[in-house]
């Protein structure tokens, strides 16, 4: 036995001798390979974790809402915007993000923010309203002005991309970390990357539940999986994941790993945009900054980690609530919250924002404009990865009104609109040239053909102000009351043809004052005037107004056979609205880097193209369009004491219906037509003007200023003849003229001595004489 044993031992030793060498070699080779792998993985782990961890798409913001006494803003609009920003209604405001509405007063605790215009502190203020105006602010003492943080209106993503709002761990709301650890990885703060205990427990739970209920992955492993690896489920990948998790824990603190996890985790899909991280999820589901979230909201997000689409609170509200309540119960079981807290929070609704409200809507037309402007100045890669912050002039309240105006007008038009009819609208600040709202089609949520920017259509009578402006620039020849001839005219046209323009009514009006030819949109008078001043001059005027074109100088151009997009029309009318100064339309105010550095400014720029006195006369003429001409139906919706200026546009066979007009503060251009250029059966007045008026009625525009610039003189003239007159005469009106070109006053019509009794006496005498003669 002994021998045998020893023999066996010898044999064993021999065996070992023979094999151990090989095994050792194999082990060493394996170790070297393993070491190589580990070193490689380690480099991967560190490189990605220490560099710029995420490509963050640029975020686009609306204008910040300004508050000051005298600001035009109704209480309801204010509350609408605050709600969109996720301010919660409470009975008494105690912390940022809360508001309290009582009668004509709104108390709000603003959140404060930083922008290129300096930082705005978080503060408690009371805003008092009267009708459409803010009448006063008060806070800690008298507050002169305050701003509300701007609404985020979109981002710039490549076709398929992750979007996120980066947060720091210290911005996490109470219970977020506790809940996450409780639900996903209870040993997180104890383990070294992988948790055998966790795996064991998960296995036990899964077996006893008869299915996969709990995963054994630690938060670190989950982070590694999402951050470094693809999602296949092979064992090799599991192994790599475990090694990398351990390496990550070796290098970085639990806090750093947790913070990365909070920013990395996938929490939902928004069309082609993937919602990553708790920062963005908080905005996406609640329209609130993360740190403001309450326990029940935190629990919902944490519950969603397991399956963002399975527990989508908008699509699967019941399932999401069950999951959320389970998370709350787990917190209670672990003693993080009391039973009472759990009960209270389980009773709460999901509180997610409703799709389509201002808090959760898209503005494809405006975003399209922003992207085009940015792409001219930036590389695509910078826009989609550098986390730029883009501040724009977008006004969500005016946008809402513009969209509603389009909707209302379509409703009113009813069957006349038909299915094919489309619309576009541009709203800008009349003095600033900033784009405030943009509607690219009948369905403002549809991101496709952006008619406001790309539908180039004949402008019809919208061209006429350019004709009249060219004339008024010659004060020695033309004033608002110069008679112009509205009678049939035949002109040679291209290729030996002739052209005989007709008035819309097919009636000629003979000699009419210039302002009337404009306000009634008489074609024949306009063509005669245009030919008189020169078609080429008129086309030059169009360019000076801000629109470059390559139109041939045919007379037909005088009636708007040239095409423009709604945005170009806006550019053209902007020059009229802002006193003859061309201001390039702007939508972006500023671009900041992720670090808050100013990358580029888009400063306010002006260039004087026309004399302000001439423009003042044009505005007078165009205000008559509204008061007594083709635009007067606007006053069915807008108070008559608001002075407005505008022009209708209708093209041949009623294919396009245009209206462009402005108040002192707002310029709006509306278009109605069909994409196939078919007939609309609408004129500018029956179509686009209805949209425009509906918008202006809700926007409460400021009355157009009647304060004349220098170089304007007023004179009394006969309304019918245009000759100088006297206030005592009938049919006499006061008219503005270029100073120095006023007509001489006519003789008064009331003699110095009242002659009525004399006449009466004379009449009696005559009767007596007649009596004698008989």
């Amino acid at each position: 036995m002994g021998r045998k044993r020893s023999k066996r031992a010898v044999r064993k030793v021999g065996f070992w001798k023979r094999w151990s060498g090989l095994l050792w070699k194999l082990a060493i080779v394996g170790l070297v390979l393993f070491a190589g792998l580990a070193v490689y993985l380690d480099a991967v782990v560190q490189e990605k974790f220490s560099g710029k961890r995420w490509a963050v798409p640029a975020k686009v913001f609306a204008r910040p809402l300004e508050l000051y006494a005298g600001q035009k803003l109704s209480r309801d609009d204010f509350v609408t915007e605050l709600s969109a920003l996720g301010y919660r209604s409470v009975s008494a405001v105690k912390q940022p993000g809360q508001m309290s509405v009582a009668g004509s007063r709104v108390d709000v605790y603003t959140r404060g923010f930083q922008s290129f215009e300096g930082s705005e502190p978080a503060q408690r203020i009371s805003v008092r309203f009267s009708g459409q105006q803010v009448t006063g602010l008060s806070g800690n003492g008298e507050v002169v002005m305050a701003r509300i943080e701007p609404l985020m209106i979109g981002g710039i993503y490549p076709a398929h991309n992750e979007d996120r709002i980066l947060i720091r761990l210290d911005q996490a709301p109470p219970y977020l970390v506790e809940a996450l650890v409780a639900v996903e990885d209870r040993e997180f703060f104890q383990h070294f990357g992988v948790s055998p205990k966790g795996i064991a427990r998960a296995a036990y739970v899964n077996v006893s539940a008869g299915g996969v209920v709990q995963g054994g992955s630690t938060l670190t492993q989950q982070l590694v999986k999402n951050f470094y690896l693809n999602s296949d489920r092979s064992l090799i990948r599991k192994g790599t994941e475990a090694i990398m998790a351990v390496l990550l824990e070796l290098h970085y603190s639990k806090e750093a790993i947790l913070e990365a996890y909070l920013n990395e985790v996938f929490l939902g899909q928004d069309g082609r945009r993937a919602v990553h991280g708790f920062g963005l999820a908080s905005q996406y589901y609640f329209a609130q900054p993360l740190h403001e979230l309450e326990l029940h909201q935190v629990a919902l997000l944490v519950g969603m980690v397991k399956g963002p689409s399975l527990f989508n609170p908008r699509r699967q509200p019941e399932r999401a609530k069950k999951r959320r309540d389970l998370v709350i119960q787990m917190l209670e079981e672990q003693g993080v919250i009391t039973e009472e807290q759990a009960g209270l929070n389980i009773a709460k609704p999901l509180d997610v924002t409703v799709r389509g409200t201002m808090a959760d809507t898209s503005y494809p037309a405006f975003m399209d404009l922003i992207k085009r402007q940015l792409r001219a100045d930036y590389q695509d890669e910078d826009l989609t990865s550098e986390g730029l912050r883009i501040f724009t002039s977008f006004d969500p309240l005016l946008q809402l009104k513009a969209e509603q105006a389009v909707e209302t007008a379509f409703k009113r038009l009813g069957d006349r609109a038909g299915k094919e009819m489309e619309a576009a609208m541009v709203v800008t600040g009349a003095q600033t040239g900033e784009v405030l709202a943009l509607v690219g089609g009948r369905n403002p949520r549809f991101s496709g053909f952006n008619r406001a920017l790309d539908a180039s259509r004949q402008i019809g009578s919208l061209i006429k102000p350019a004709v009249f402006l060219t004339a008024l620039e010659q004060p020695q020849r033309y004033s608002l009351i110069t008679p112009v001839d509205d009678s049939p005219i035949t002109l040679p046209a291209e290729q030996g043809k002739t052209w005989s323009p007709q008035n819309y009514s097919r009636v000629s009006h003979g000699l009419v004052p210039l302002h009337e030819a404009l306000s009634r949109s008489y074609n024949q008078a306009t063509v005669r005037l245009g030919v008189d001043v020169g078609v080429d001059k008129v086309l030059q005027t169009v360019e000076r107004m801000g629109v470059q074109h390559n139109w041939p100088a045919y007379p037909a151009m005088l009636l708007g056979s040239g095409a423009m997009t709604p945005l170009q029309v806006t550019d053209m009318y902007q020059t009229l609205a802002s006193g003859g100064f061309n201001t390039p339309l702007r939508a972006i105010r500023n671009v900041l880097t992720a670090e808050g550095e100013q990358l580029s400014r888009y400063p306010f720029k002006v260039q004087q193209r026309f004399d302000s006195a001439t423009i003042f006369l044009m505005q007078e003429g165009m205000s008559r369009v509204m008061a007594e001409g083709t635009g007067r139906s606007a006053y069915n919706q807008i108070p008559s004491d608001i002075r407005l200026a505008g022009k209708t546009g209708t093209t041949n066979d009623l294919r396009d219906s245009w209206f462009a007009g402005f108040s002192d503060d707002l310029l709006a251009v509306a278009w109605l037509g069909r994409d196939d250029n078919g007939q609309t059966r609408l004129t500018g007045a029956t179509g686009a003007l209805q949209i425009w008026s509906a918008f202006m009625a809700e926007a409460h525009p400021n009355s157009l200023s009647e304060v004349p610039p220098g170089d304007i003189g007023y004179a009394w003239v006969n309304r019918l003849t245009g000759e100088g007159s006297d206030p005592s005469c009938p049919d006499t009106v006061q008219m503005p003229f270029r100073a120095g070109y006023e007509p001489l006053p006519g003789p008064g019509c009331r003699p110095l001595i009242d002659t009525a009794p004399v006449k009466e006496g004379a009449g009696r005498v005559m009767d007596v004489i007649r009596g004698w003669l008989q």
């Binding site: 006063g136 720091r168 911005q171």
Partner: protein, 214 residues
């Protein structure tokens, strides 16, 4: 026994590998401030913003503007934002206790005045970009106020954009009828801007207009 050794070795290698990496083992500090709405807030987790520069403060007087005179020197001109010291003699429709009985016109002037004051401070601190932002903000509130246009034109001139300075001053002039002192200042600025652009004849003309206005 061997598996133990292997485990030990593996552990050693892991540690070695861990230490061998590029970054050292110090927890990484997230470089670069994150970009977010979060970040725009000064709420939880944010260091309280340093005392804001643009937080407007009500000042009691008008804004003192240094206006270059014809001889190239400068003189202080005291003027009031929003035309003419308050005209309104009618009592404000509502006089909340906190407003201190200010007339409505004065209240309206509040934000513009405050922003002009901020811009003045930013300008004297050499921060022309912020001064410009404040003035553009003021212009959005009072687009027809020539005083704001005048100040913006001044800042543009300092920023080296003489062409825009001239244009902005011209725009100011189009709203300044009936305000001779301001007209003179604006013409003076036009003159400077033209001089800067090498247009001395135009500058001389503008100086003439400045004198006439006064």
């Amino acid at each position: 026994m061997d598996s133990k050794r292997i485990g030990l070795l593996a552990g050693c290698i892991m540690v070695l590998a861990g230490c061998a990496g590029s970054g050292g083992s110090i927890p990484v500090v997230d470089s670069g401030r994150p970009v977010s709405n979060e970040d725009m807030q000064s709420g939880a987790g944010m260091p309280a913003p340093t005392q804001q520069q643009t937080q407007p403060q009500q000042t009691d007087g008008g804004v003192v503007v240094l206006v270059p005179d014809g001889e190239g020197g400068s003189s202080a001109v005291e003027s009031y934002p929003l035309d003419s010291a308050p005209i309104s003699s009618q009592p404000s429709t509502q006089t909340p206790a906190s407003s201190g009985g200010l007339q409505e016109d004065e209240q309206l002037a509040g934000p513009v005045l405050a922003l002009l004051t901020s811009a003045r401070q930013q300008e004297s601190g050499g921060d022309l970009s912020s001064a410009s932002a404040s003035l553009e903000r003021a212009l959005r509130i009072a687009p027809r106020e020539p005083q704001v246009l005048f100040r913006l034109a001044q800042v543009r001139l300092e920023q080296g954009d003489a062409a825009q300075a001239e244009q902005l001053a011209q725009r100011g002039l189009s709203y300044a009828s009936g305000r001779p002192a301001l007209q003179a200042s604006l013409w003076g600025l036009v003159a400077d801007a033209r001089e800067r652009q090498g247009n001395s004849a135009g500058a001389a003309q503008a100086r003439e207009r400045a004198k006439v206005a006064l």
